[in-house]
């Protein structure tokens, strides 16, 4: 059934990011990019969400928080790492408190490049995540 690709609800969490990617993720919801036309709604609640947008290279303290949010999300769920920091640790990869990209904590399905990833790049990431969501839903049912 294709209804998954028509109503992807996202939850966004900032795991030690410089909040450049966070305000770009929020900018996706605002009038100029408006991802609600694709059915995307930013629920702040892991129990309602399908796509997990993580920004920032994961530091020690947000490590358990991310795993906690990931486990609270109902199946099928997809993780999108937004920005260079989330994908590979980016410019902070040598810092002592940072444990590299998000994939060192939870499995990541889509990586979005860019330092302060542009809203268009984030929309590309979400669109690719839809395909992964459909695949997981078929595998589950």
């Amino acid at each position: 059934m294709s209804s998954f690709s028509k109503s992807p609800w996202i939850i966004h969490y900032d795991a030690s990011s410089c909040n450049g990617c966070d305000i770009e993720t929020l900018a996706c919801l605002t009038p100029l990019f408006d991802v609600e036309r694709l059915g995307v709604v930013n629920t702040g609640n892991p129990k309602h969400a399908d796509i997990f947008l993580v920004t920032g290279a994961v530091n020690e303290q947000s490590n358990p928080v991310i795993r906690n949010i990931y486990e609270q999300m109902p199946e099928p769920k997809v993780v999108v790492a937004v920005g260079a920091c989330a994908s590979t640790g980016g410019i902070f990869k040598d810092c002592y408190n940072v444990s590299g990209g998000v994939d060192s904590v939870i499995p990541v399905d889509v990586y979005v490049p860019g330092c302060a990833a542009r809203p268009e790049a984030i929309i590309d990431g979400v669109v690719q995540a839809l395909a992964a969501l459909e695949k997981k839903q078929k595998a589950r049912s």
């Binding site: 909040n19 892991p46 947000s62």
Partner: protein
């Protein structure tokens, strides 16, 4: 009465950035707020010992995404002060203009977040729509939307030609009208007033004793604005700090709305007086010495302490950011407030957690 502890958690829809508050709540009145921060501490000050001092401007800019340009500008000014490099005046003017543009987009961003926390989604959308027009100007002149990357030691990396300046001023016209309309709604709307007036009152002495800075301090009547120090091109542009006296969330919001219009005037004044000439100067050798540099970020005064020992890497780099100074005020104000006011109070100092925890 039963006391419940509500985790106003690191992950919360109203907070763009993670801060954890354990709210001890009786009925719906908050008795005590126990914060725990550190969710964004990356430890980037330690990178100074590994990275080349010229290369570190890229990291200094990424301390915080919203006020990224002024971080970069302050770092470059600190290094230039140590090596006493004479930056060409045109570069100083360009830095001032980009600094004011980043103040406008940061205040508009905050206006949207505050409207969203108060449950007014349409105002959030409208203020972020206007902010996109400011970001278009920034992208046209510096190439980056949020992280400009146009400041470097010894000057700036890009110039704005005459056509760029006239195009910018024309766009500023439309932006100013939109800002006037939005701030008029924000100031006069009585449903917003009922949520902001009298909430989180900080008297003049309290604000000063708690060490608040920026709009949080100016909202309580203390006229303290770092732009009066005359760094960059502010020596030629007289900056009159905007203050209010009531000291509640409403007056802090009014201060920020007026600062939006003040920044637009500053850009126009700077653009009219911008001198021609070089935009950068060759930098050689290594810095050695120590300096403290203070500038005005959208959230308040940032203090940079940089210590260099003559090698390619700096010895010590310390930043005291405005939100770090404003956090004690939030904790004091959260005592005895209502649960519905918690997001308003957390957002009233315009927290930038990634600044605070570096």
């Amino acid at each position: 009465m039963a006391r419940t502890v509500i985790p106003f958690g690191p992950q919360h829809p109203v907070l763009p950035e993670p801060i954890h508050l354990d709210l001890v709540v009786e009925d719906e009145r908050v008795l005590e707020a126990r914060p725990s921060i550190g969710f964004i501490h990356r430890g980037l000050e330690k990178l100074v010992e590994k990275k080349d001092y010229i290369e570190f401007t890229y990291i200094a800019e990424r301390i915080c995404g919203i006020c990224s340009f002024i971080h970069g500008q302050t770092y470059c000014q600190a290094i230039e002060a140590i090596m006493n490099i004479a930056v060409p005046p045109r570069a100083l003017y360009l830095r001032t203009v980009w600094g004011e543009l980043s103040r406008i987009h940061s205040h508009l961003l905050w206006l949207g977040l505050m409207a969203d926390a108060v449950g007014f989604e349409s105002l959030f959308m409208h203020s972020w729509r206007v902010r996109e027009q400011v970001l278009d100007i920034i992208e046209a002149t510096t190439g980056g939307r949020v992280i400009f990357g146009s400041c470097k030691i010894g000057g700036v990396r890009r110039d704005i030609d005459a056509a760029g300046i006239s195009d910018m001023l024309r766009k500023l016209e439309t932006i100013e009208q939109e800002i006037r309309r939005i701030t008029k709604v924000f100031i006069n709307d009585s449903s917003i007033k009922s949520r902001l007036c009298g909430v989180g009152v900080l008297s003049r002495e309290e604000a000063y004793d708690l060490g608040c800075v920026g709009p949080t301090l100016r909202g309580s009547g203390v006229a303290q604005d770092m732009r009066q120090l005359g760094y960059a091109a502010f020596a030629d542009l007289q900056v009159e700090p905007i203050t209010r006296t009531e000291g509640d969330s409403y007056s802090r919001c009014a201060v920020r709305c007026d600062e939006l219009l003040q920044s637009i005037d500053l850009i126009r004044k700077a653009m009219s007086k911008i001198p021609a000439g070089e935009i950068e100067i060759k930098v050689t050798g290594n810095p050695s010495g120590e300096v403290t540099m203070r500038t005005e970020q959208p959230r308040g005064e940032v203090v940079y302490c940089v210590k260099a020992n003559g090698t390619r890497n700096l010895q010590r780099f310390r930043v005291r950011t405005p939100t770090f100074a404003n956090l004690p005020a939030v904790l004091k104000v959260l005592q005895g407030c209502e649960l519905a006011d918690v997001p308003v109070l957390v957002l009233t100092i315009d927290p930038c957690i990634s600044c605070t925890e570096r």
